[in-house]
Symmetry: C2
Subunit: 357 residues, 2 copies
Amino acid sequence: MSKKVLVLPGDYIGPEIMAEAVKVLNTVDARFGLGLELEYGLLGGAAIDETGVPLPDATLERAREVDAILLGAVGGPKWDNVERHLRPERGLLGIRSQLGLFANLRPAILYPQLADASSLKPEIVSGLDILIVRELTGGIYFGEPRGIRELENGEREGYNTYKYSESEIRRIGRQAFEAARKRGKKLCSVDKANVLEATVLWREIMDELAPEYPDVELSHMYVDNAAMQLVMRPKQFDVVVTGNMFGDILSDTAAMLTGSIGMLPSASLDKDGRGMYEPCHGSAPDIAGEGKANPLATILSAAMMLRYTLGSAEAADAIEAAVSKVLDAGLRTPDIHSEGTHLVGTVEMGEAVVTAL
Amino acid sequence: MSKKVLVLPGDYIGPEIMAEAVKVLNTVDARFGLGLELEYGLLGGAAIDETGVPLPDATLERAREVDAILLGAVGGPKWDNVERHLRPERGLLGIRSQLGLFANLRPAILYPQLADASSLKPEIVSGLDILIVRELTGGIYFGEPRGIRELENGEREGYNTYKYSESEIRRIGRQAFEAARKRGKKLCSVDKANVLEATVLWREIMDELAPEYPDVELSHMYVDNAAMQLVMRPKQFDVVVTGNMFGDILSDTAAMLTGSIGMLPSASLDKDGRGMYEPCHGSAPDIAGEGKANPLATILSAAMMLRYTLGSAEAADAIEAAVSKVLDAGLRTPDIHSEGTHLVGTVEMGEAVVTAL
Ligand SMILES: CC(C)[C@H](C(=O)O)[C@@H](O)C(=O)O
Ligand SMILES: CC(C)[C@H](C(=O)O)[C@@H](O)C(=O)O
């Protein structure tokens, strides 16, 4: 039985890092007989350039058909002057929403080989392993009404709507409890229930779910405190669940604690566990075309895809082991380079992983 | 000419730290002949206990009359079961809004004597001096409509409205540009203009103001990136300006970079520079009544009040120098204690500052 993967390289460094991930996928495909069928599609700026829109119908159609999606990175200054609703980011938000990819899983793991890369003291971050579960298809990102309107006094006002329904909260809550159950059994729900009604309901529903997961310890934290605690004592966290906007901020904070965002994969899943996988980092316009980008986050996203959606844990394990091996061997792209290690480019890094496989 | 100060001790550690700040104020009053007249009022939980509401009319009336307000900290678990609109936080939000205290200035400064307290590596944070300018009376904190409603399908939905008008953005923008002009001349405006229309207008107005401040270098950053950059390379920032919600998160992140939030004051100013001053930290219910709380943030808030609203820079300088002196002498409350320094309590710390004056 073949497994179809839609590959969306995206913009700037996107195609460069994706090329390496594809080599890795082809290698495990051959080795483990996975029957992967890769096809390519357009999303973001690349799609704007070819078709005029950031999420072409053809991409959406294929995305609905395939078993999983692997995305590079989208966006960048080239499309800054494109009309707002046609920007590359709209393609990303559109595909998340259209496919119902409501559960965004963002691990923040400190690789022991890269402990130095963190801006935090080693004793604060060594062994760090947090999973941020971010709601991805609701909240203020998608709430209506929204826009810029003229007020009675003639001045303009920009406005957005932050909202969450019980069922939206419940389904992301369950995902997070399930994830916590498989890990350290601690779940911290982050809200701003002392100010925002939208998050009062959030807190209530999380409390309502808790008795179904008696093995998981649920706590609540205000978002401002969570941001502080992540910096001060990040290892207190196991799984963190929060809404779309707070999740955007906290997952990037958590990723940066590791000092190596170029290493972190992410998954965006629908209710059946189908999903889109992508690195946590962006399209890095400043280094595009220079062959310097770190392909490991994309390669590890491919591993995550094999594990969670394609049911090939063995292949995922093999990729992760290969990545560890090249790190052990001292290979480093510029973003994670430090004294005494061996500086390599995108292609060299990708090929080293293939060789290690 | 006398200067009236309304003192609002607030809850839990609030009265303990305020008692020390009052001693310090009385000392500089006598030494510099400031003619301070202190009066006391109720806000938050303390007000709920006495009057049933978190912001009594009497407090609001006096707050409008006086020259400046000094606040301890409000809130805590004692009032968790009070009805939502009567919670202590409502008193704080109410006084900010009623007095038009739209400009919240939150410095994040690393005291060289406390460099060890940070969870970040010394080279990342040494010499850190950031000012976060947070809009405080608008945005999603106050936007209507808001609440929890029943949807047609019978489930509930929590909702809030994020909005900013041109004039709201313009006045906080000017404050931030002015502040940057007096400091390192760099202003970073933080938004999420790639997703939220409310912040598209924000970015536009900041750009519109820039030509009036040609000596200030304006940049823009998305909030998720700003959170990362604060952790990775905080010294790139001078002044940061942002809305109420993002400011809540980023100012706490910035404060925590210093490792000593117990040292950081804040000011909330109206259009005429009148204002309310308070420590950045909360009411610390866990250590209340134990005489362990750090009074320095409140003492430094009093200094900020003297400088910005009461026009006594000399007295402010004297207080700040006295605080530096007690730190040099090795005195530390538990929150900033490290090996080789002298552990003291709230009162001892307050009195040491008085002696140093
Ligand atoms: C590009 C942007 C719209 C996106 C988001 O805010 O969700 C990105 O920051 C992310 O976290 O995937
Ligand atoms: C207590 C709370 C309402 C308040 C806020 O969110 O503004 C606090 O976190 C602050 O930053 O002063």
